[in-house]
Symmetry: C2
Subunit: 450 residues, 2 copies
């Protein structure tokens, strides 16, 4: 048992390696000794690129392959680029099919060809098979570390195979026909407990174990695995051929990737974004999102532009504008969060949208009235004007109602048109509440105040 929780130990190394006065090779040597590959990958990512390249030279060749695979794609890119021919050659010799799949997008066709040259026939097949699927499909993340037996194998054959096998975590033996078509799974425990060594293994097949199609979305497969009573499930291709299994550690890793991706997507960034990144590249990665946002901000400005007249006469309206926009934005984001979660789980459809909209409007009615009164009173005292108090109270109330309706229907509409609301939902929603809020607020102001 360790004295420090893992993260704290990692944090300490991050800090020590940034301490210019004391940082030297021995600090990283200590890290190499006491951190595992995942933590080492996190540590390397936590170093500015120059420093990362220097420390990389200290990494023993034996773990370089697995370390690169663990790193985020953008974080390992400078390392891959820094390697000369000999170092690349050395690395390629250590990659298996699974690692190669992970690195494939960042290697040239030529380099991949070279790497494939080092693989045996089986590994090459695995690579080709995984490479058919994209990164949303479970087929890309299959574990090939399985034990298969022919349909006519006996328990004796199975026992021999189990003892010969190197698999640390073996639960099932998969039975396949001569074309590698999946016939069923047999629990290792049942084989070990079977008295008659001459019995056919296929007689022990557990029909309760489901199979997963390699072309399935990985989130669906994780659900399936989570609710199956076993720890890994066989994955088959469209022709019913067994291509491997999906394991729980893979599921955990994929789930984490998925959610980290969602969280980063909310800021318009990729999950693979490196913590330290060449400044030019970082700027490019973020520019698009800033640009999209600028368009929506100009849209809001354009809406305000229609009301220059009232703004120049009643400057209090300009002062209070952020309150209208922000109350609508927050109320909308609350409804959106609820609906997005329901959409992801399959709980929200056009079928219950109306019922949800009714509820959200109910909630908005209460909060809308409540906060509108508070805001109206504050504005009344601040600017000594009943009209201004009334105008902002009404605008805040109306904007919170608009936020509720758009919070329910916007993500549903986006989904219907095939657009992922996780990416664009929040931006579009605040654009709606900004524009609606400003127009209501300044429009009513024009009517009542001048």
């Amino acid at each position: 048992m360790e004295e420090l929780p893992k993260t704290e130990e990692l944090q300490d190394f991050v800090t020590e390696l940034h301490d210019k006065e004391h940082a030297n090779e021995t600090v990283f040597d200590r890290a190499l000794e006491s951190l595992d590959v995942t933590e080492l990958s996190l540590l390397l990512e936590a170093l500015p690129i120059e420093e990362r390249l220097i420390r990389w030279q200290q990494v023993p060749e034996a773990i370089r392959g697995s370390l690169l695979v663990e790193m985020r794609s953008q974080a390992r890119e400078p390392i891959l680029l820094s390697m000369d021919g000999a170092a690349t050659e050395q690395l390629l010799q250590m990659l298996d099919a699974v690692s190669l799949i992970d690195l494939a997008d960042q290697l040239s066709e030529e380099t991949i060809e070279k790497a494939l040259g080092y693989l045996d026939t089986k590994q090459k097949q695995w690579f080709e098979s995984s490479n058919q699927y994209d990164s949303n499909q479970i087929g890309r993340f299959v574990d090939h570390n399985i034990l298969t037996l022919a349909v006519n194998a006996t328990v004796k054959d199975a026992l021999r195979a189990i003892k010969r096998g190197q698999q640390k975590t073996l639960d099932h033996i998969y039975v396949v026909d001569r074309n590698n078509v999946y016939r069923g799974a047999v629990r290792v425990k049942d084989v070990l407990c079977e008295k008659s060594e001459l019995r056919m293994v296929r007689g022990l097949i557990d029909t309760a174990i489901p199979t997963i199609m390699a072309s399935s979305q990985y989130l669906d497969s994780i659900d399936e695995l989570e609710h199956a009573d076993v720890k890994n499930l066989p994955v088959i291709d469209d022709d019913g051929r067994l291509i491997g299994r999906i394991t729980h550690p893979t599921a955990l890793w994929l789930l984490r990737q998925h959610y980290e991706g969602l969280l980063m997507a909310k800021a318009g960034m990729a999950e693979s974004e490196d913590l330290f990144i060449p400044v030019m590249k970082g700027a490019r990665n973020r520019a698009v999102w800033l640009g999209i946002n600028l368009l929506t901000a100009f849209l809001a400005s354009w809406a305000i532009g229609f009301f220059e007249n009232v703004l120049s006469q009643v400057v209090a309206l300009a002062v209070l504008m952020p309150v209208v926009a922000s109350m609508g934005g927050i109320a909308g984001s609350q409804t959106l969060a609820l609906i997005m979660r329901g959409l992801a789980l399959g709980q929200v459809t056009l079928g219950n949208a109306l019922a949800l909209c009714r509820q959200e409007l109910g909630i908005s009615m209460i909060n809308g009235v409540g906060w509108a009164v508070v805001i109206g009173v504050v504005a009344f005292y601040w600017f000594s004007s009943v009209e201004i108090g009334f105008v902002i109270a009404f605008a805040v109330f109306a904007n919170i109602q608009a936020a509720a309706v758009s919070g329910v229907y916007l993500p549903l509409l986006l989904t219907k048109f095939g657009i992922d609301p996780a990416l664009s939902g929040a931006v579009l929603l605040t654009t709606i509440t900004d524009v609606f809020g400003f127009v209501t607020f300044l429009g009513l102001g024009t009517l009542l105040l001048i």
Copy 2:
């Protein structure tokens, strides 16, 4: 194999049950037949509360307990409240220790006492043991479905125990002394392969299997499990006594809860928030966040209030205000997303904060100059004024720089003061960029335009 992916099937039932003309008991009966407990819980949550209570009556008593446990705490509350004495009694008889732990927060002391009365000594002990830990500690989520043997047990004893045991997923036998202090784990496979039945089981202990402290944060334990080579890890209390194991399905479930919680927290809501909720309760749940947000919005208004003079003279400034605020907010949220991810992984410390700040300022410099020029030119053409173009360009540039610095240091400072930046980070950051942006923009406007 099913024809429909799980989520689609669920979506269809949600829609059908909301179709007022055709919805009737048979639709829900079909759902009861073809959905598993998790999906049923999602389906019930997707119904308005009245409808949910009606359908609940159709649920067979045998699955009521597990169905309630699967549901979100706020979603099952109306069901719990609707139960009369007899129904509650019936339910309590079906709960085991793990289910009771899950429901405990929503049951009265009295009801829990009653439920404990139905448990045997072992289950009661499990309940007491889990109940010592809070919902961030792994001890609360321990699986008690383990096989233990005494230190002096032989392989023969172990074989008998394995065959008698009902565990579907048995990887290890845990060896404990007479005080239930953990001594080690033995792989079932090793027991089954052992030739000598008289050998002591403790001789087969696999010392590579780590243990988890029940008081650990569950996220740390999930990390540990993910990187262990086994599918579940023993959990011990502070005195070294074995209290159970942590399994991969639990880890998946906890990880999902964690991230769903993070996503909901960004809108100031709880993960347990019900999709359909009594309107009054929903309004109360969301009011706090709206109130906090209102304070920050008033802070921005207050800052604007100092510049009424320039606003009344140069109305273009009022029109352009949203652009300044929103560019700063978006740039800040990008830096924040990156830093928050690094903080969660232990990659960001005060040690590398300066290096990160330097990088973020570099990125902001490029995007700041680029977008400032674009915005300045647009404003120049829009309002035919070089001064206005310059004022907004400078304000946007400065605000993007401020966003970079606050995006790095704000979450670190919050963490240092023990405040979770996942909850408050974004709100505080946009408050900073709003106020800083408005003051720079309007301040410079005052200097140059009047």
